[in-house]
Protein backbone atom coordinates (compact mmCIF):
# COMPACT_ATOMS: atom_id res chain seq x y z
CA UNK A 1 0.00 0.00 0.00
CA UNK A 2 1.34 3.44 -0.87
CA UNK A 3 2.31 5.63 2.11
CA UNK A 4 0.37 8.51 0.53
CA UNK A 5 -2.86 6.51 0.81
CA UNK A 6 -2.31 4.94 4.23
CA UNK A 7 -4.10 6.30 7.28
CA UNK A 8 -2.67 6.24 10.81
CA UNK A 9 -4.87 3.14 11.35
CA UNK A 10 -3.00 1.25 8.65
CA UNK A 11 -5.93 1.11 6.24
CA UNK A 12 -6.18 2.76 2.81
CA UNK A 13 -7.90 6.14 3.11
CA UNK A 14 -9.87 5.69 -0.15
CA UNK A 15 -11.30 2.39 1.05
CA UNK A 16 -12.06 3.83 4.48
CA UNK A 17 -13.81 6.84 2.90
CA UNK A 18 -15.80 4.53 0.64
CA UNK A 19 -16.99 2.36 3.53
CA UNK A 20 -18.08 5.58 5.31
CA UNK A 21 -19.96 6.57 2.13
CA UNK A 22 -21.65 3.16 2.03
CA UNK A 23 -22.61 3.67 5.68
CA UNK A 24 -24.29 6.97 4.77
CA UNK A 25 -26.08 5.21 1.90
CA UNK A 26 -27.50 2.74 4.46
CA UNK A 27 -29.20 5.69 6.13
CA UNK A 28 -30.54 7.03 2.80
CA UNK A 29 -32.08 3.70 1.80
CA UNK A 30 -33.15 3.01 5.41
CA UNK A 31 -35.23 6.20 5.39
CA UNK A 32 -36.74 5.40 1.97
CA UNK A 33 -37.63 1.85 3.06
CA UNK A 34 -39.10 3.20 6.32
CA UNK A 35 -41.24 5.66 4.34
CA UNK A 36 -42.47 2.85 2.07
CA UNK A 37 -43.36 0.68 5.09
CA UNK A 38 -45.07 3.51 6.99
CA UNK A 39 -47.39 4.22 4.04
CA UNK A 40 -47.87 0.55 3.13
CA UNK A 41 -51.54 -0.35 2.77
CA UNK A 42 -52.67 3.28 3.14
CA UNK A 43 -53.49 4.00 -0.51
CA UNK A 44 -57.08 5.16 -0.94
CA UNK A 45 -57.22 4.35 -4.67
CA UNK A 46 -55.63 1.62 -6.83
CA UNK A 47 -53.70 0.12 -8.40
CA UNK A 48 -52.63 -1.73 -5.25
CA UNK A 49 -49.36 -3.73 -4.92
CA UNK A 50 -51.00 -7.19 -5.15
CA UNK A 51 -52.75 -6.16 -8.38
CA UNK A 52 -49.69 -4.94 -10.19
CA UNK A 53 -46.43 -6.45 -8.87
CA UNK A 54 -45.01 -9.24 -11.06
CA UNK A 55 -43.09 -11.66 -8.81
CA UNK A 56 -41.72 -14.05 -11.52
CA UNK A 57 -40.35 -11.09 -13.50
CA UNK A 58 -38.78 -9.44 -10.45
CA UNK A 59 -37.33 -12.79 -9.34
CA UNK A 60 -35.48 -12.88 -12.67
CA UNK A 61 -34.19 -9.31 -12.05
CA UNK A 62 -33.01 -10.42 -8.59
CA UNK A 63 -31.24 -13.45 -10.11
CA UNK A 64 -29.65 -11.13 -12.71
CA UNK A 65 -28.30 -8.76 -10.05
CA UNK A 66 -26.98 -11.65 -7.91
CA UNK A 67 -25.13 -13.02 -10.95
CA UNK A 68 -23.71 -9.55 -11.63
CA UNK A 69 -22.25 -9.58 -8.11
CA UNK A 70 -20.61 -12.94 -8.87
CA UNK A 71 -19.20 -11.50 -12.13
CA UNK A 72 -17.86 -8.51 -10.16
CA UNK A 73 -15.90 -10.63 -7.67
CA UNK A 74 -14.56 -12.76 -10.54
CA UNK A 75 -13.44 -9.52 -12.27
CA UNK A 76 -11.64 -8.38 -9.11
CA UNK A 77 -9.99 -11.79 -8.61
CA UNK A 78 -8.77 -11.75 -12.25
CA UNK A 79 -7.38 -8.20 -11.96
CA UNK A 80 -5.63 -9.09 -8.68
CA UNK A 81 -3.82 -12.04 -10.28
CA UNK A 82 -2.94 -9.95 -13.35
CA UNK A 83 -5.20 -11.84 -15.77
CA UNK A 84 -6.51 -8.77 -17.58
CA UNK A 85 -8.18 -10.80 -20.36
CA UNK A 86 -10.51 -12.38 -17.78
CA UNK A 87 -10.69 -9.10 -15.87
CA UNK A 88 -12.00 -7.23 -18.94
CA UNK A 89 -14.46 -10.01 -19.72
CA UNK A 90 -15.98 -10.10 -16.22
CA UNK A 91 -16.12 -6.30 -15.95
CA UNK A 92 -18.09 -6.22 -19.21
CA UNK A 93 -20.36 -9.08 -18.07
CA UNK A 94 -21.07 -7.20 -14.80
CA UNK A 95 -21.97 -4.01 -16.70
CA UNK A 96 -24.16 -5.91 -19.17
CA UNK A 97 -26.04 -7.68 -16.36
CA UNK A 98 -26.55 -4.23 -14.79
CA UNK A 99 -27.97 -3.00 -18.10
CA UNK A 100 -30.32 -6.01 -18.24
CA UNK A 101 -31.57 -5.08 -14.74
CA UNK A 102 -32.10 -1.45 -15.82
CA UNK A 103 -33.95 -2.61 -18.96
CA UNK A 104 -36.20 -4.71 -16.76
CA UNK A 105 -36.87 -1.78 -14.45
CA UNK A 106 -37.67 0.47 -17.43
CA UNK A 107 -40.13 -2.15 -18.73
CA UNK A 108 -41.67 -2.54 -15.25
CA UNK A 109 -42.12 1.23 -14.77
CA UNK A 110 -43.62 1.61 -18.28
CA UNK A 111 -45.98 -1.31 -17.66
CA UNK A 112 -47.10 0.12 -14.29
CA UNK A 113 -47.63 3.55 -15.84
CA UNK A 114 -49.86 2.06 -18.54
CA UNK A 115 -51.75 0.17 -15.82
CA UNK A 116 -52.52 3.55 -14.23
CA UNK A 117 -49.85 3.77 -11.52
CA UNK A 118 -48.07 7.14 -11.70
CA UNK A 119 -45.84 8.91 -9.20
CA UNK A 120 -48.79 10.86 -7.78
CA UNK A 121 -51.57 8.28 -8.25
CA UNK A 122 -51.51 7.03 -4.66
CA UNK A 123 -49.17 6.53 -1.68
CA UNK A 124 -48.01 3.18 -3.05
CA UNK A 125 -47.01 4.79 -6.38
CA UNK A 126 -45.12 7.65 -4.72
CA UNK A 127 -43.17 5.51 -2.26
CA UNK A 128 -42.60 2.66 -4.74
CA UNK A 129 -41.22 4.85 -7.54
CA UNK A 130 -39.03 6.94 -5.22
CA UNK A 131 -37.53 3.85 -3.52
CA UNK A 132 -36.97 1.68 -6.61
CA UNK A 133 -36.12 4.72 -8.77
CA UNK A 134 -33.38 5.80 -6.34
CA UNK A 135 -32.03 2.26 -6.45
CA UNK A 136 -32.20 2.28 -10.27
CA UNK A 137 -30.26 5.57 -10.33
CA UNK A 138 -27.56 3.90 -8.23
CA UNK A 139 -27.45 0.95 -10.65
CA UNK A 140 -27.09 3.43 -13.56
CA UNK A 141 -24.11 5.11 -11.85
CA UNK A 142 -22.61 1.65 -11.24
CA UNK A 143 -22.99 0.62 -14.89
CA UNK A 144 -21.31 3.88 -16.08
CA UNK A 145 -18.51 3.31 -13.55
CA UNK A 146 -18.01 -0.32 -14.69
CA UNK A 147 -17.99 0.63 -18.39
CA UNK A 148 -15.42 3.37 -17.64
CA UNK A 149 -13.17 0.78 -15.97
CA UNK A 150 -13.70 -1.62 -18.88
CA UNK A 151 -12.67 1.07 -21.41
CA UNK A 152 -9.60 1.86 -19.28
CA UNK A 153 -8.75 -1.84 -19.27
CA UNK A 154 -9.18 -2.01 -23.07
CA UNK A 155 -6.73 0.88 -23.42
CA UNK A 156 -4.24 -0.92 -21.18
CA UNK A 157 -4.59 1.67 -18.42
CA UNK A 158 -5.98 -0.77 -15.87
CA UNK A 159 -3.81 -3.52 -14.44
CA UNK A 160 -3.12 -5.40 -11.21
CA UNK A 161 -1.58 -2.19 -9.84
CA UNK A 162 -5.13 -0.74 -9.87
CA UNK A 163 -6.75 -3.66 -8.01
CA UNK A 164 -7.97 -1.39 -5.23
CA UNK A 165 -9.82 0.81 -7.74
CA UNK A 166 -11.64 -2.31 -8.99
CA UNK A 167 -12.27 -3.42 -5.40
CA UNK A 168 -13.89 -0.07 -4.52
CA UNK A 169 -16.06 -0.29 -7.66
CA UNK A 170 -17.01 -3.76 -6.48
CA UNK A 171 -17.94 -2.47 -3.01
CA UNK A 172 -20.36 -0.02 -4.64
CA UNK A 173 -21.80 -2.67 -6.93
CA UNK A 174 -22.32 -5.23 -4.14
CA UNK A 175 -23.94 -2.56 -1.97
CA UNK A 176 -26.44 -1.88 -4.78
CA UNK A 177 -27.06 -5.65 -4.82
CA UNK A 178 -27.69 -5.92 -1.05
CA UNK A 179 -30.09 -2.97 -1.20
CA UNK A 180 -32.04 -4.83 -3.89
CA UNK A 181 -32.08 -7.98 -1.70
CA UNK A 182 -33.93 -5.93 0.94
CA UNK A 183 -36.23 -4.18 -1.58
CA UNK A 184 -37.16 -7.51 -3.21
CA UNK A 185 -38.26 -8.89 0.16
CA UNK A 186 -39.88 -5.79 1.67
CA UNK A 187 -41.65 -4.44 -1.42
CA UNK A 188 -42.32 -7.45 -3.64
CA UNK A 189 -42.59 -10.54 -1.42
CA UNK A 190 -44.13 -9.05 1.73
CA UNK A 191 -47.31 -7.56 0.29
Amino acid sequence: MSEAHRTSMGVDNRKMAFWAFIGSECLLFGSLIATYLVYKGRSLVGPYPHEILNIPFTSFSTFDLLMSSLAMVLALAAVQRGDMKQGKLWLLVTALLGLVFLGGQFWEFSHFYHEGLGLTTNLFGSTFYVLTGTHGAHVTVGVIWLLTLWIQALRGKLGPQNALTVEITGLYWHFVDVVWIVIFTVVYLIQ
Binding site: V38, I55, V73, V178
Partner: protein, 102 residues
Protein backbone atom coordinates in the same frame (compact mmCIF):
# COMPACT_ATOMS: atom_id res chain seq x y z
CA UNK B 1 1.22 3.70 -8.05
CA UNK B 2 0.62 0.15 -6.90
CA UNK B 3 -2.56 -0.65 -5.04
CA UNK B 4 -2.59 -3.66 -2.73
CA UNK B 5 -5.79 -5.26 -1.54
CA UNK B 6 -6.44 -7.59 1.37
CA UNK B 7 -6.67 -11.39 1.22
CA UNK B 8 -9.99 -12.55 -0.19
CA UNK B 9 -11.92 -15.79 -0.69
CA UNK B 10 -11.15 -18.24 -3.50
CA UNK B 11 -13.07 -18.47 -6.80
CA UNK B 12 -14.59 -21.76 -5.62
CA UNK B 13 -15.96 -19.97 -2.53
CA UNK B 14 -17.44 -17.21 -4.70
CA UNK B 15 -19.21 -19.83 -6.85
CA UNK B 16 -20.51 -21.65 -3.76
CA UNK B 17 -21.85 -18.37 -2.33
CA UNK B 18 -23.56 -17.59 -5.66
CA UNK B 19 -25.20 -21.04 -5.66
CA UNK B 20 -26.43 -20.51 -2.07
CA UNK B 21 -27.79 -17.04 -2.95
CA UNK B 22 -29.72 -18.45 -5.92
CA UNK B 23 -31.08 -21.32 -3.79
CA UNK B 24 -32.26 -18.91 -1.07
CA UNK B 25 -33.95 -16.72 -3.72
CA UNK B 26 -35.74 -19.80 -5.10
CA UNK B 27 -36.86 -20.72 -1.56
CA UNK B 28 -38.10 -17.13 -1.00
CA UNK B 29 -40.19 -17.19 -4.18
CA UNK B 30 -41.34 -20.74 -3.39
CA UNK B 31 -42.62 -19.94 0.12
CA UNK B 32 -44.36 -16.83 -1.27
CA UNK B 33 -46.62 -19.06 -3.39
CA UNK B 34 -47.21 -21.87 -0.86
CA UNK B 35 -50.30 -21.15 1.32
CA UNK B 36 -48.93 -23.35 4.16
CA UNK B 37 -46.22 -20.76 4.88
CA UNK B 38 -48.56 -17.73 4.96
CA UNK B 39 -48.67 -17.70 8.78
CA UNK B 40 -44.87 -17.44 9.08
CA UNK B 41 -44.22 -15.76 5.72
CA UNK B 42 -42.99 -12.37 7.01
CA UNK B 43 -40.43 -13.61 9.60
CA UNK B 44 -39.29 -16.38 7.26
CA UNK B 45 -38.70 -13.97 4.35
CA UNK B 46 -36.92 -11.48 6.63
CA UNK B 47 -34.56 -14.18 7.93
CA UNK B 48 -33.82 -15.48 4.40
CA UNK B 49 -33.21 -11.91 3.20
CA UNK B 50 -30.88 -11.23 6.14
CA UNK B 51 -28.88 -14.39 5.34
CA UNK B 52 -28.47 -13.27 1.69
CA UNK B 53 -27.50 -9.77 2.83
CA UNK B 54 -24.89 -11.16 5.25
CA UNK B 55 -23.41 -13.56 2.67
CA UNK B 56 -22.88 -10.78 0.09
CA UNK B 57 -21.42 -8.38 2.67
CA UNK B 58 -19.12 -10.97 4.29
CA UNK B 59 -17.82 -12.75 1.18
CA UNK B 60 -18.34 -10.51 -1.87
CA UNK B 61 -17.60 -7.24 -0.04
CA UNK B 62 -14.86 -9.11 1.87
CA UNK B 63 -15.89 -7.77 5.27
CA UNK B 64 -15.15 -11.20 6.78
CA UNK B 65 -11.50 -10.94 5.70
CA UNK B 66 -10.90 -7.18 5.82
CA UNK B 67 -9.94 -4.73 8.58
CA UNK B 68 -12.52 -4.76 11.40
CA UNK B 69 -12.72 -0.98 11.29
CA UNK B 70 -14.60 -1.28 7.97
CA UNK B 71 -17.15 -3.50 9.71
CA UNK B 72 -17.62 -0.72 12.27
CA UNK B 73 -17.96 1.95 9.52
CA UNK B 74 -20.65 -0.14 7.82
CA UNK B 75 -22.30 -1.81 10.79
CA UNK B 76 -22.78 1.42 12.81
CA UNK B 77 -24.89 3.26 10.21
CA UNK B 78 -26.65 0.01 9.26
CA UNK B 79 -27.73 -0.44 12.88
CA UNK B 80 -28.80 3.21 13.03
CA UNK B 81 -30.83 2.75 9.81
CA UNK B 82 -32.55 -0.30 11.36
CA UNK B 83 -33.37 1.71 14.50
CA UNK B 84 -34.79 4.52 12.31
CA UNK B 85 -36.99 2.05 10.37
CA UNK B 86 -38.30 0.32 13.54
CA UNK B 87 -38.80 3.64 15.40
CA UNK B 88 -40.75 5.20 12.51
CA UNK B 89 -42.97 2.12 12.27
CA UNK B 90 -43.62 2.13 16.03
CA UNK B 91 -44.30 5.90 16.08
CA UNK B 92 -46.59 5.78 13.05
CA UNK B 93 -48.60 2.72 14.03
CA UNK B 94 -48.63 3.86 17.67
CA UNK B 95 -50.16 7.16 16.57
CA UNK B 96 -52.73 5.37 14.41
CA UNK B 97 -53.63 3.10 17.33
CA UNK B 98 -54.04 6.10 19.67
CA UNK B 99 -56.24 7.90 17.14
CA UNK B 100 -58.46 4.96 16.25
CA UNK B 101 -58.33 3.11 19.58
CA UNK B 102 -57.73 -0.20 17.71
Amino acid sequence: MSEQTGSHASTATYLRIAAILVMITLIEVGVFYVPTFQAVLVPLLLVLSAVKFALVVMFYMHLKFDNRFFAFLFGGPLLLALVVVISLLLIFYGAVRLRTGV
